[in-house]
């Protein structure tokens, strides 16, 4: 039961082809055709790949590069990959990266400047990013993209770098059939079923010796891509006696849909933790002096891993650099973290010098003041911060502790005889 609400998403039906909301099934092998169709449309397909012992999002040229038969085992402070005895494509969940690495890149040049007799000229960078197709966006991450949309597109200023990447992005979501070890999307109302703005959504059906994908159409663009995929695959089927062409997709039966629902329900039951998300804005505003902060501060290394892996953290810094002649200058933007000491530096010192204040800033922002600023929570329950924290700090536990009254520091004295 979740007390978290997210803004509703409207979808528009396609002019022709499948309706939004319609579902089809396809053989898992046909995913190759979807990838090919996306690439034929000029998209750079970003998908899960296996590298250095983790599942990371990278550009692929064919579906063969997807990690088959792998799942992740995650726990506080721990991430491992484990071989499965099947060829599941999406049994893993989320890894150390999120889609923000593509939409809100870690390092960008903003502009270059050159000294002139009159002063200087400034030229913004010609930013022509690739058109991305994201293959495998989980519910938590889909909501994280919506959260970043609100921060970077819907305020008084629009971030042109984010907009240039976000607007054309094609999203193929995946409804999770297996929970990660640290996630809690059910508590945060973000999954396992992806409920944001996607073009297509897949549910993996791996049972009875068949490996299929249930496909849900989320937009007119998604319907068109399915049609393009089918057109690519219009070749005579080997097993069709009359040479009829075989389409990649077939309409989903009720049994198919039920199987998809069951897979998602299984993932929901596997959730390893819950976050009581009710009233967090008020709770965090009212517990700034709670002794729990000192407790978590004694464990936190202020390493900033959590902010790097978090799909909604958006803080950046700027670096002004110049060449040796001093006549050319550039401004770069790169990711930054509120955990760094100089994040809050003003003349003479940092406002948040202690590790305690920096951990408190991160958590009270993510789960509290984000509501004041953007009208939603900043946390989507992906669990990355828990897995990638070297000391395994679990924010669901921290919140639970903050809800409890501060324990007495000293036990009351025994009654005099």
């Amino acid at each position: 039961m979740t007390q978290v609400t997210w803004p509703a998403v409207t979808r528009r039906d396609s002019a022709g082809g499948m309706e939004v909301g319609a579902r089809a099934v396809m053989d898992a092998a046909e995913l190759a055709d979807l990838v090919d169709a996306l690439r034929a449309e000029g998209y750079t397909v970003i998908a899960p790949t296996l590298r250095d012992g983790a599942i990371v999002y990278d550009a692929i040229e064919s579906a063969a590069e997807l990690p088959r038969g792998w799942e992740d085992v995650q726990a506080p402070g721990s991430y491992r990959l484990r071989r499965r005895d099947d060829q599941a494509l999406f049994a893993h969940t989320v890894g150390p990266q999120s889609w923000k690495r593509l939409l809100h890149p870690p390092r960008m040049r903003l502009w270059q400047a050159a000294r002139t007799a009159e002063g200087f000229t400034v030229a913004p960078d010609d930013d022509v990013p690739p058109r991305y197709a994201f293959l495998g966006v989980r519910g938590c991450d889909l909501q994280a993209i919506a959260v970043q949309d609100r921060v970077l597109l819907e305020g008084a200023h629009v971030d042109p770098i984010y907009r240039a990447r976000r607007a054309p992005a094609f999203v193929v979501a995946v409804h999770c059939g297996r929970a990660g070890g640290t996630c809690f999307c059910v508590s945060m109302g973000t999954g396992p079923r992806a409920a944001g703005a996607f073009d297509l959504a897949l549910t993996e059906l791996l049972e009875d010796g068949r490996h299929r994908l249930l496909v849900e159409v989320g937009s007119a663009r998604g319907a068109a891509m399915l049609a393009a995929m089918d057109a690519l695959d219009a070749k005579p089927a080997a097993d069709a006696p009359d040479g009829a062409t075989r389409r990649a997709t077939a309409p989903a039966t009720d049994a198919d849909v039920a199987a998809g629902d069951a897979a998602v329900a299984r993932a929901a039951e596997q959730m390893g933790r819950t976050m009581d998300a009710a009233g967090l804005r008020e709770l965090l505003a009212g517990t700034l002096d709670h002794p729990r902060w000192a407790d978590v501060a004694s464990r936190c290394l202020t390493c900033a891993n959590c902010t790097m892996v978090c799909p909604t953290c958006f803080c950046t810094t700027v670096e002004d650099v110049t060449d040796l002649t001093g006549d050319h200058a550039e401004r770069w933007r790169r990711w930054d973290s509120c955990f760094t000491l100089d994040f809050s530096y003003i003349h003479g010192g940092s406002v948040r010098a202690s590790g305690l204040s920096r951990y408190r800033q991160w958590l009270t922002h993510k789960l509290g003041t984000w509501h004041d600023q953007f009208g939603t929570s900043g946390c989507v329950g992906c669990g990355r911060c828990i897995a990638w924290c070297p000391v395994g700090i679990d924010l669901t536990e921290e919140i639970a502790a903050l809800r409890r009254p501060p324990e007495a520091a000293v036990p009351p004295p025994a009654e005099a005889p």
């Binding site: 400047a113 009159e118 810094t317 509120c338 406002v351 202690s354």
Partner: protein
Amino acid sequence: MEAVAADPMLPAPWRVARVRRDTADTFTLDLAPAGGAAPAPFAPGQFNMLWAFGVGEVPISISGDPARPAVLRHTTRAVGTVTRAMARLRRGGVLGVRGPFGSAWPTDEAEGADVVLVAGGIGLAPLRPALLRILARRRRYGRVVVAYGTRTPADVLFRDDLQRWQARGDVEVLVTVDRAAGGWAGRVGVVPSVLRLASFDPARTVAMVCGPEVMMRFAAQELLRRGVAPARIHVSVERNMKCAVGFCGHCQLGPDFVCRDGPVLPWARLATRLLVPEV
């Protein structure tokens, strides 16, 4: 704001028209737009991001007259790499300007009320535009008080202005210093103490406070003690800024982005936060 580039992250070149050394560590730059750009109007309390070519960028409050935006004036202390580079600029030098950004002092809202301006140190600079606007429309306000404190007599800013304002007869100007040797005929003491001498009706007063955070806290306490409503005490806070447009996240103070929701904020909104260390 025609003079601001369409992209608020791009600095526009402005030329130094005049440099003035105010005190040992404080200086004032008057800027004029280079290349014929139109002057950008600003509201009292707003700031610009000033960029020293190849060195870096800092937020500096505008200290000039809002009725004359063609002279873009900033008064600042030379305390870091960028401000020290700015202090070395001479007439004709060029500075990058982005802005103006931020919220403004409530000079319109204060019409009909008594106005108390409380400044500490360099805090007089962001308040100067507010006072100039108020004095340009003096009849719209009740009593006007300027209470200003700084370190020593040698650190008193805008001496000519202070004398001129005092000489008008319709502004109560109270100046005090933390420490003075003989020869200073003025007051010695802290700003909250000198506020006690000011005449204003707390029930119809709007206060605007700017200075070191500790000084603002104590000044606000004194104003509250006198009976000024917390919602009518406005302070200008300062935080680390990198973008000034609400994206980099550095300037957050609780739920507020100081670059966008501030720097001028009502005391009622800030009080609990400023009393918790390291928020």
